[in-house]
């Protein structure tokens, strides 16, 4: 078989369908355009094998509605761009297979709690940068600046490194923020993303901040004491981060501070 032929066959599958027609309802609104009003619009999409919502939305944009706004970057579940509300639940659209909706009807809405850019696209970037600045999501160490890059690195316990990695896996998709009850009531609430970031730097021996320093960030009702423990964050986190455990841990630390 020639390479050319082999390559043709690699895409042959995309023409296949499962025989099912999906009904995809999308909340549409472009705040940039003065005439635009929010409305639900339904699109019919022939389902293909292994179809994800990423593929279905691109189908709609190419064939039915070229102005449809949505965000994908990696389309592999690792960059966090494509958080949206899928049949009532915040999740990553890129790794959600359409086959999992056995009725063939999928309703998509933008993540609440973020500024809407248009249709399914929201401004998580602005929100997450503000969280980073508020938490100070970087290593605080006055001596770091003088470190000699030619010299052997500082040692770290292998288990500590692994533990930090576990807490560093957040992809800032915003699902936890959208699923949070407290977030709806308190505009300034830090939210699970912020708490996880605190937990990550708290666990890091390279960061020299004390519990008193952290109290300044966390120690009020917009911080860890505001959490009503509804645990929407824990339920919807696509990376299965230990939100419940870490919020409880931070709360205890702050009570003791």
């Amino acid at each position: 078989m020639s390479e050319a032929k082999m390559n043709v066959s690699t895409t042959a599958g995309s023409g296949q369908t499962t025989g099912r027609t999906l009904k995809i309802n999308i909340l549409r609104f472009n705040p940039q355009e003065p005439d635009s009003k929010p409305e639900m619009v339904t699109y019919k999409v022939p389902e293909a094998p292994n179809m994800t919502i990423f593929i279905a939305l691109n189908y709609i944009r190419e064939n039915l509605e070229p102005s449809l706004q949505f965000d994908f970057v990696c389309r592999a579940g690792i960059c966090g761009s494509c958080g949206m509300v899928i049949n009532g639940r915040p999740d990553l659209a890129c790794r959600t297979l359409t086959s999992k909706f056995f009725l063939g009807e999928i309703t998509l809405m933008p993540l609440p709690a973020f500024e809407l850019i248009g249709d399914l696209s929201v401004n998580t970037g602005k929100f997450m940068r503000a969280v980073s600045e508020r938490v100070g999501s970087w290593i605080h160490d006055e001596e770091e600046k003088q470190k000699d890059l030619d010299a052997l690195e500082e040692r770290m316990d292998p288990d500590t490194a692994d533990e930090i990695y576990e807490l560093d896996r957040c992809i800032e998709c915003g699902c936890c923020i959208s699923a949070c009850g407290t977030m709806r009531m308190r505009e300034q609430f830090l939210g699970a993303r912020g708490f996880m970031s605190v937990a990550r730097f708290h666990a890091d021996p390279r960061d020299k901040r004390s519990d008193e320093d952290w109290y300044e960030v966390l120690g009020d009702d917009d911080g860890v004491f505001g959490c009503m423990s509804l645990m929407g964050c824990e339920d919807t986190c696509p990376k299965d981060l230990p939100h419940q455990t870490k919020i409880a841990y931070l709360r205890r630390r702050m009570v003791d501070t």
Partner: protein, 656 residues
């Protein structure tokens, strides 16, 4: 006219761009970063397996140093790289890893005592020394003599990018998100910034800058199936090409990664094989040792991808509705190892394939993965033909990868080149003034506005996504893993026709603000131009080198083709790029062309190779008491910013 002034403008908020911005800011310059997306979503985050740097901490890394890393990189490049740049890189990689450790990357660490690993399908026990406990550890990767790839599980790019972006935030570096650079502002051989479109409001803004750095990543999305993020469409390289002044280097050098899942094309890291995973065929037979007895699954990527394709052509692929594939088997690594060190791979398998790699085989096939080509730069990162324009990371042809990049050398390049080039960018800003007439800026802005008006006004033009799909299919079918003259000639012709058609595109969506179809329409003709650089470069290069494999010219030909392809777009109306070639001078090489030790060993020798080898032997013989640093300096001196010239310390051996 909206105008923003800055000293150092960085286009692209991935690892390379952010590191340049940090360097600029550290030198007291006003700095800002433009990004299509929030910086932490950049494609750098998708790097899984790790970053190479010769720390030599783990027992399987002992004996490693800059010399070994340099040699592996040059062999990997099939002698197509700039050896000076490869040296600069190998020297600074350990420093970059240590710097990132200070900025928060939780690098996996050496654990003293015995541990079980899988090497060549056997479980063996290795013992780490007490004195190395807690230092940064590394894993095995393809085409390397030592275990050199430092990592955080299989989310290395993610932790690196988060640490880097957090560092940039701590320094107050602004990232202007959802902004796309659509043209460079230039005059008299100098670049002065970019015309930028706000992807939310649709506004055009002129960013006027002293230095402009393109760090927009690769051009994988020119192919219909790619592991790359959907934003990796080469727009940074394209706006450089459209200046007519800047050149693109080695655009035909396109890497195919051996193990992307079928059909989604999503990457599973080389770490799978580095940690002991195997490739199996339809009979679940391990075929790689038959082709590559020494390196087996861990030859360089270009070689493994070709061997896999050869094996599929023999009818040994696993049939599927998406064409034949092979199997990646990591079951032998065990549940504990997979759930700790290959968990992203496990998640990808679960969500996209519905399988668990602890007990199931993973369907994989070679898939477009990396762009060795890009904006041609000097070792300082500056375009030799457009002053004030810098480029760094995958967007650049700085040229440490030549015709094939080693796994673990791409995220490494982003942060190392960012460190080095960042200093040269700052030097440039401190030595030059911005002396541009505002009328010139207005001219570029009005020109871009005119193009947008035309696209929105045309009632019934060609559809951008259809032209894009046609272009992607041409590269996929005719400029793939194996190439030959006739299909390549067809590709060039067909792409030229598409480029002509693209001049008659129109948009159905008419909004001037956020409008995905308009974005597409603006990108597609540029993508086709890049595709033409790839196809024409491949057609005219009548040899095989690294990832560029010609079935009609299967040998590497150092005599006629030891050169870098330079593509320029001389006139806006042209339907093809202009190609020129820059020879690589063997007489200045530290390592003259030789055998890679894997893959096709055939090469047509250059007459200088023997001469230079003789000269090198003489130089070495003349300095019997010299250490390796002194010998290296005598063979091929290289320069670096002063702060990065120091000798790297290693455990147990110091600076030897």
């Amino acid at each position: 006219m909206k105008v923003v002034y800055t000293d150092s403008l960085v286009i692209g908020g991935g690892l390379a761009g952010l590191r340049v911005a940090i360097a600029s800011k550290n030198r007291g310059l006003d700095t800002l970063v433009l990004s299509l997306i929030p910086a932490k979503r950049s494609h750098s985050a998708a790097a899984q397996g790790g970053m190479q740097g010769s720390l030599a901490n783990s027992v399987k890394s002992k004996g490693d140093n800059e010399d070994v890393h340099f040699a592996d990189t040059v062999k990997g490049s099939d002698w197509g790289c700039d050896q000076t740049v490869a040296r600069m890189f190998a020297h600074c990689a350990p420093k970059a890893i240590r710097e990132l450790a200070g900025w928060g990357v939780p690098w996996s660490r050496v654990r003293k005592g015995d541990r079980e690993v899988v090497v060549n399908a056997e479980r063996v026990t290795i013992t780490e020394a007490d004195e190395d406990h807690g230092l940064i550890t590394s894993r095995d990767f393809g085409g390397t003599k030592k275990w050199r790839t430092c990592f955080t599980a299989d989310g290395t790019g993610h932790t690196m990018l988060y640490a880097m972006d957090n560092k940039a935030i701590s320094m107050g570096i602004p990232v202007h998100e959802r902004k796309e650079a659509i043209a460079l502002i230039h005059e008299g051989g100098r670049c002065y910034g970019a015309i930028v479109r706000d992807l939310i409001t649709g506004d055009l803004i002129a960013y006027v800058a002293n230095a402009t750095t393109i760090a927009t990543g690769g051009y994988g999305r020119l192919y219909s199936i790619s592991t790359n993020a959907v934003i990796s469409d080469g727009m940074g390289a394209a706006i450089a090409l459209e200046t007519g002044a800047a050149a693109l280097g080695n655009m035909e050098a396109v890497q195919f990664h051996p193990t992307a899942i079928v059909p989604a094309g999503i990457l599973t890291t080389e770490g799978c094989r580095g940690d002991g995973g195997l490739l199996l065929d339809v009979d679940e037979y391990r075929f790689m040792p038959d082709y590559e007895p020494e390196k087996k699954e861990l030859a360089s990527r270009d070689v493994v991808s070709r061997r896999m394709t050869e094996h599929i052509r023999k009818g040994k692929g696993v049939p599927s509705p998406y064409g034949p594939h092979l199997w990646l088997d990591i079951r032998l690594l065990g549940k504990a190892h997979i759930e700790k060190n290959l968990r992203e791979v496990q998640e990808i398998c679960e969500y996209f394939l519905g399988i668990d790699p602890v007990k199931d085989l993973i369907p994989v096939r070679p898939t477009q993965h990396y762009s060795m080509g890009g904006v041609k730069t000097n070792p300082t990162g500056e375009s030799p033909t457009l002053k004030g324009l810098f480029s760094v990371g995958e967007a650049a042809c700085w040229d440490m990868h030549g015709f094939n990049r080693l796994g673990g050398n791409s995220v490494a390049e982003t942060v190392v080149a960012g460190m080095i080039v960042g200093e040269y960018v700052a030097d440039h800003c401190l030595a030059h003034d911005v002396d541009i007439d505002i009328a010139t800026v207005r001219h570029f802005l009005e020109r871009e506005k005119g193009k947008i008006d035309e696209l929105l006004a045309r009632p019934d033009g060609e559809k951008p996504h259809e032209l894009k799909a046609a272009m992607q299919q041409i590269l996929m079918d005719k400029v793939g893993i194996f190439r030959s003259g006739e299909p390549l000639a067809e590709a060039v012709e067909e792409l030229s026709t598409l480029l002509e058609r693209s001049r008659n595109m129109g948009c159905r969506a008419k909004a001037r603000s956020a409008n995905p179809e308009l974005e597409q329409a603006m990108r597609v003709p540029r993508m086709i131009k890049l595709a033409l650089c790839v196809a024409k470069g491949a057609r005219d290069r009548t040899e095989s080198r690294g990832a560029h494999a010609r079935e009609d010219y299967p040998d590497r030909n150092d005599r006629d083709w030891l050169s870098r392809t330079l593509a320029t777009w001389a006139n806006e109306d042209d339907l093809e790029p202009t190609l020129e070639y820059e020879p690589l001078d063997i007489m200045t090489m530290e390592m003259p062309p030789g055998s890679r030790g894997y893959g096709n060993a055939q090469a047509i020798e250059h007459p200088d190779t023997a001469k230079r080898n003789e000269e090198i032997d003489k130089i070495k013989a003349s300095m019997p008491d010299a250490d390796r640093h002194e010998i290296q300096k005598a063979l091929m001196p290289f320069d670096l910013p002063e702060k990065y010239r120091g000798t790297n310390e290693r455990t147990q051996i110091g600076t030897a």
